[in-house]
């Protein structure tokens, strides 16, 4: 890895000075030059309008022995001061991978005033916490987080990186993978270590959930992947566990932040937190009309559950997108999943078939949903669902 400024090409425009997160570029005789503060992060490369900055990373990384990359890292996502469950699930799974490799699992915690969260991360199984704090990280932003994350990766060389396949994880992962020119496997549902090659075997659904693919990243490091929420169990916390905090100081130049968060709007609060719900009652096209969801909501209420929806019902405008379960919606794995008037297209099944118990209610006995259902009732949803609601109200009292 090296950075060179070709002084014969430099036009002295000073654009690169602002692009450097470390203030390592200065002007000398109207030309930009690098000082010793340069970390070879390469952030300046794209800023130069005349391509006078050469970052030789391919060559450097190719010659770099990939065996110098060690350890499994988990990117910690948090919102409103709480660690997202998927991050804890990934510490649990990351720990298994690390143990098999004989390495450590570390959490990457980037945020504003978040050090306190380390306790939870150690309790969940992290050996180390890499901590970067600052006001630039108060909310997630692609630029601030990717600068910090890339900095940590280049300095500490992890072998494997796991991120949650959430909107933010799937925003940050590819940005960082492209910067490091490494492989990223999206939306994995199972991970293991290939016994022969010692590589991570990333398994994910493709083709709308019709097939599964196992993917390797043999020659590039780190091996990166995003993993769906809820496919792994959250580890039981052990608050006696401790670990090492590795704090890194990093200044973010405001000019490098190209997007600005203006507002956070909550359309629904608790009621559409599907990924953490223990009981989900979902409705589909078989309800025939948007009013049918009132009946679904009533059943959910009796069970203290959350309402989900098939894509068909979302497409019909009966429910907001936030409730959609399936390949292009949310992946859920509650204790009980009740499908009301859902035929069970493969895309829907891909989002819920790991639920513990699936109860399907549909009038078509040949509906594919019955192939995955633990219990099925063939009948009119408008008779069965209210009857079930009434019966449960009676027995749960």
């Amino acid at each position: 890895m090296s950075v060179k400024i070709l002084s014969e090409e430099c036009i002295g425009c000073q654009t690169c000075i602002d692009s450097c997160p470390y203030g390592a570029i200065v002007m000398k005789d109207d030309k930009a030059v690098l000082t010793e503060a340069c970390t070879f992060c390469g952030a300046c490369e794209s800023s130069c309008p005349v391509s006078a900055i050469l970052v030789e990373r391919e060559k450097a990384e190719e010659s770099q022995d990939i065996s110098s990359y060690k350890g499994v890292w988990v990117f910690i996502e948090h919102r409103d001061g709480r660690i997202r469950n998927v991050s804890l699930e990934l510490i649990g799974e990351g720990r298994k991978l690390a143990q098999e490799l004989g390495e450590e699992v570390s959490a990457v915690l980037i945020g504003d005033n978040v050090a306190e969260m380390s306790k939870e991360l150690f309790a969940s199984g992290a050996d180390n916490v890499y901590l970067v704090e600052g006001s630039a990280f108060h909310h997630y932003s692609t630029d601030a987080y990717s600068i910090a994350f890339t900095y940590l990766i280049r300095k500490h060389l992890p072998s494997v990186i796991l991120l949650g396949a959430t909107n933010d994880g799937r925003d940050l992962g590819p940005r960082v993978a492209a910067r490091l020119k490494t492989g990223l496997t999206a939306d994995c549902t199972s991970l293991s270590i290939d016994p022969e090659t010692r590589l991570v075997a990333w398994t994910r659904p493709a083709f709308g959930g019709n097939i599964m693919a196992t993917i390797f990243c043999p020659d590039n490091r780190p091996q990166m992947g995003t993993v769906r929420p809820k496919v792994f169990k959250k580890p039981v916390p052990d608050y006696n566990r401790t670990g090492k905090i590795i704090r890194e100081e990093l200044a973010i130049n405001e000019k490098d932040i190209r997007t600005k968060l203006i507002d956070v709007v909550k359309v629904c609060t608790f009621s559409c937190n599907l990924e953490d719900a223990e009981i989900i009652v979902s409705g589909g096209r078989g309800l025939g009309k948007p009013e049918g969801f009132r009946m679904v909501e009533e059943l959910a209420q009796v069970l203290k559950g959350t309402v989900g929806s098939s894509r068909a019902a979302v497409d019909a405008g009966w429910m907001p997108y936030q409730h959609q379960v399936g390949q292009t919606g949310k992946t859920v794995a509650p204790k009980i999943y009740i499908a009301c008037g859902i035929s069970g297209a493969i895309q829907h099944l891909a989002g819920m078939q790991t639920s513990d118990v699936i109860i399907a209610i549909n009038k078509d006995p040949d509906a594919p949903i019955f192939k995955v259902a633990t219990y099925g009732i063939v009948g009119d949803v408008y008779e069965v669902v209210p009857a079930l609601t009434a019966k449960l109200r009676e027995v749960l009292q």
Binding site: N167, A177, T182, V264, N273, I336, G379, V384, L388
Partner: protein, 260 residues
């Protein structure tokens, strides 16, 4: 506004069936369509152009037959289309694909927005957009549902689990689009005639200064090791009887199994 929309021709995965005997994918007879999320991306681009002026160019990387997808986009109202097609692009993963697409955007120059669908329904990775932004060295807005442009900056709604974030950013940007509130427009008669007449230029690796080490199989850090059909859960139990009886029986079973 100069807008590039990236589209992918995909098999209609909702039409895919599994052979019940061999348990493999039946690929025959599955129609090729424009990735649905890319149609929303195009709709967004056309609305921005209609309001603020400029040009919408659609690009796709794929085999020669992918030009059919580009023609459909012209029929919907896109101004121009370019197909990136070369054997050298074969075997590309998301990193190599995003590199190739971004080289085409570089060649066009002065692009304000690159708009993509949030993900393609065959690969479902959602990675090409952000990776393009990195290759191009510009900002990104992902999972976007609405865009307002005031002549200088965009105000966009970015989907989150509990609602949405409101984000402001200045072009140039890569934007990825989720399903919009309105359906993508359908091709007009005039547009269809234009699409039929249009010559779609094909750019090869040499046309867009592709570094062979960064494209196709060689430029792809990931490789698919194994493909298999997912295991299905064991078939459960159908509960018989009229609604009332079936419900009573179900609740009994749930209680016996200590699920309730």
């Amino acid at each position: 506004m100069q807008i590039v929309v990236c589209v992918k021709q995909v098999p209609d995965t909702t039409e895919v069936k599994i052979d019940p005997v061999t348990n493999t994918l039946i690929r025959e007879g599955v129609p090729s369509i424009v990735n649905p999320f890319d149609k929303y991306a195009l709709e967004m681009a056309l609305q921005l152009r209609d309001k603020h002026g400029g040009k919408v160019t659609v690009i796709s990387m794929g085999p020669p037959q992918a030009s059919a997808a580009l023609r459909e986009c012209i029929a919907m109202g896109a101004d121009e289309a370019v197909l990136l097609s070369d054997r050298a692009f074969a075997g590309s993963d998301t990193l190599a694909t995003s590199y190739t697409l971004s080289q085409a955007v570089r060649k066009m120059g002065n692009v304000d927005l690159v708009i993509c669908g949030k993900q393609a329904i065959d690969g479902d990775t959602a990675q090409v957009g952000p990776e393009m932004a990195e290759h191009l060295g510009i900002g990104q807005l992902t999972y976007i549902s609405t865009i307002e442009f005031d002549g200088e900056k965009l105000i966009a709604h970015r989907e989150q689990d509990e609602g949405y974030d409101v984000i402001e950013a200045k072009p140039p940007l890569v934007v990825t689009i989720i399903k919009l509130a309105m359906d993508p427009r359908i091709p007009t008669v005039k547009g269809t005639a234009k699409a039929y007449r249009s010559e779609i230029p094909v750019w090869t690796a040499a046309d867009i200064a592709i570094d062979p080490k960064s494209a196709g199989l060689e430029g792809s850090p990931t490789l698919v090791r194994r493909i298999f059909t997912p295991e299905r859960r064991g078939k459960g139990e159908l509960i018989q009887g009229d609604s009332k009886e079936a419900v009573d029986l179900l609740v009994d079973k749930l209680r016996q199994a200590k699920i309730l």
